[in-house]
Amino acid sequence: MADTITLLVTRYRPDTEAEPTVAEYEVPLRKDWAVLDGLNHVKDQLDGTLSYRWSCRMGICGSCGMTVNGEPRLSCATFLTEFAPGPVRVEPLANFPIVRDLVVDIDDFLRKLPTVKPWIVRHVDWVEDGEYLQTPDEQSAYQQYSMCINCMLCYSACPVYGVDPDFLGPAAIALAQRYNLDSRDHGAADRLDVLVHPEGVWGCTFVGECTRACPKGVDPAGAIQRYKLTAAMRSVRALLLPWGAR
C-alpha cells in the first residue's frame, strides 16, 4: 500500500473566483484515517485556507457531509483506504448552493423543517405529573425516523430535489412522519396540508436514493411512500364520507 493518497478537493472562493476549481493535495494514507482526517491534515499542514464543516467526528452531529468520489457521505465515517490507491474526489454536497469550498448553504432545509411542525402537538392537556405511557412497540413505530441527524446526504442524493428545489424533501417528510407515528402526538391533521401539497409527498417519484444515502438507517423513501398511502386513503374517505372527514 502506498503511503500517501491524492485528494482532489473542490475549491470555491467567491471573492476571487466565478466558479469552483479543483485543488490537488497529497496526504498520508493511514489505515485509520477518514477522509476528514485527510482534510484536517491539509488544513493544518498544507493550506489553512481550505474551508469545510466538521465537529463530532463520530457520525452523529451531521455536519461533515460531502460528496466523496461521487457519493454523498459523512467524511468522518468514510475511510481513505476505501479509495486506495486514489485519487479521491472530495466535493461539496450536490443540490445545494456552495458558500465556499466544501461548505454548502442548507438554510433551505431549515426553512422547510418548521413547516412540518416537528414537535409534539397535543389537543388534550398534559398529564402534569408523570410521563405519557408508550410501550416499546408504540415506540418502534416511529423510532427509525427519529434517528435523522439532518446531515443532508438525502437531499444531496435526491434528483427530484435537485431539479425542483421547492420539493419538501426526504428528511423533512421523514421527521413529519416521526411525529405522526408517535403515539403521544395529535398533530397529524396539522401536518397534512404541507405534506399533501404537490411539493410535498406527491413530488417524490420514489427514486430511493435518499434511503440508500442515509448513514443512520432512516428510510425516508419508505416514510414518503407510507405517507402517500395514508394521505390517499384519507382523501378517499373524505370523498366517500364528506361529512365525517377531518
Partner: protein
Amino acid sequence: MTATRARAYRQAVPRLWWLRRRSYLLFMLRELSCVFVAWAVLFLLLLLKAVGNGHVDYQRFLDWAAKPWVIAVNVLALAFLVFHSVTWFNLAPKAMVVRVPKQMLALAPKAIVRRLPEGRVPGWLIVAQNYVAWVFVAAIVAGLVMRSGS
C-alpha cells in the same frame, strides 16, 4: 436569521443527470418502463380490434406481429415489463406496513411471533405474495388463451 448569499455558487443539475450514476440510470429505466406499459395496452387493443373485425383481420394482425421489427419491439417491451413487475413488487412493502392483529399474534406460535418484528408482516412475505400472485395470474391468462385455441 440569514443574510443574502448572492455569491453562493448554484450547482446546476446537468440535463443528463440520470446518466451520471448507475442507480439514477436504473431509476430512469424503471420510470421509462411505463412507455412499454402503454405500448402493451396499445398492442392488446390492436389485437382485440382485429379479433372484433373477424378472422381476416385477426390473421392480418398475426402476420403484422410476426414482422421482425414488431417482434424486436415486443422483446424489448417484455424486458421492460418484467423489469417493471420486479421493481414494483419489490418496492411494495415500503408503502404498506401490514400489522398482524393483536388477537392473531396471541394465537400464533411463539416461534413465528418472534420472526415478526414489532408485530408487522415482514417485507419479504409481502414481496413473496406478490410473486405468487404474478405466477397465478400469468398461469390463468396463459391457460385461458391456450385452451381457447385448441
